[in-house]
Symmetry: C2
Subunit: 153 residues, 2 copies
């Protein structure tokens, strides 16, 4: 079930993707929402180049930021919105952080780890059940990536 | 092919696992070796509790540390030694960092992502071919974990 609120959060994630593109980073954006307040408590785009950190995907950045802020490695009452299907690294990090709900926009057949590849959340090695929704604003989110890579060729 | 040098590096990784246990962290250790010099250039145990960071696995810690040091998100001429089979998160991070060779000690049927679960390196969504060796010092590395969890019960 996708709501108007979900679209609003995903628009914020898309803003982060656009900011990332302006900085020369792969344009993927994420926001983390505190379920109790409904507030966005962390927002980031990919930052692997600027931070010289191959793990600095948008999802990892918001999880690390919020965990540090609350002083815990698990943040169960939070929902994550991301413009692209998370990779295996981010999918596992989402489970480790005990995120309640994952909402993503565009699927990623090339590098995704949720619907594609090892489908992390379907594995017996995943120890956290999560609610997943996807497809909202998929065209806009995918287009930002297409534009970015087209300009680079 | 496992060499004497591999055992020496894995002993250093095991030291990091033991240090992690002393700090109350899950005792998994890793070292990163510069292939050109043969030097250990980063070493860490798990630090998810002390750093309030669910992504602070030993493997991620050494990759982030070395990447930051050299100012790049890819460190191809490096080998990684870790006392336990990496999870899906770490396996993907290892591929993103373009690590040359992964050597791990004990298999991890419960949470591993290399031999188990989504078997990350076997997926078409993995875009980096890597050399993998495992099994050396598996008993010692597994025992540190068993002792740790037994004490906590």
């Amino acid at each position: 079930m996708i709501s108007d609120k979900d679209h609003s959060y995903m628009r914020s994630a898309l803003e982060e993707a656009n900011k990332a593109a302006q900085g020369g980073e792969v344009p993927i954006g994420a926001v983390l929402v505190d379920c109790a307040s409904g507030d966005i408590v962390a927002r980031s785009g990919n930052a692997t180049i600027s931070s010289s950190d191959p793990t600095a995907h948008a999802e990892i950045n918001v999880i690390r930021s919020r965990c540090k802020e609350v002083g815990a490695q698990r943040i169960p009452a939070h929902d994550l919105y991301v413009t692209l299907e998370p990779c295996a690294m981010c999918a596992a990090a989402i489970a480790f952080a005990r995120i309640r709900r994952l909402v993503f926009a565009a699927p990623d057949p090339k590098g995704g780890g949720v619907l594609h590849g090892g489908q992390f959340f379907e594995q017996p090695t995943c120890h956290h059940k999560i609610e997943i929704a996807h497809g909202l604003m998929a065209d806009e989110s995918g287009q930002v990536l297409k534009d970015f890579f087209q300009k680079r060729r």
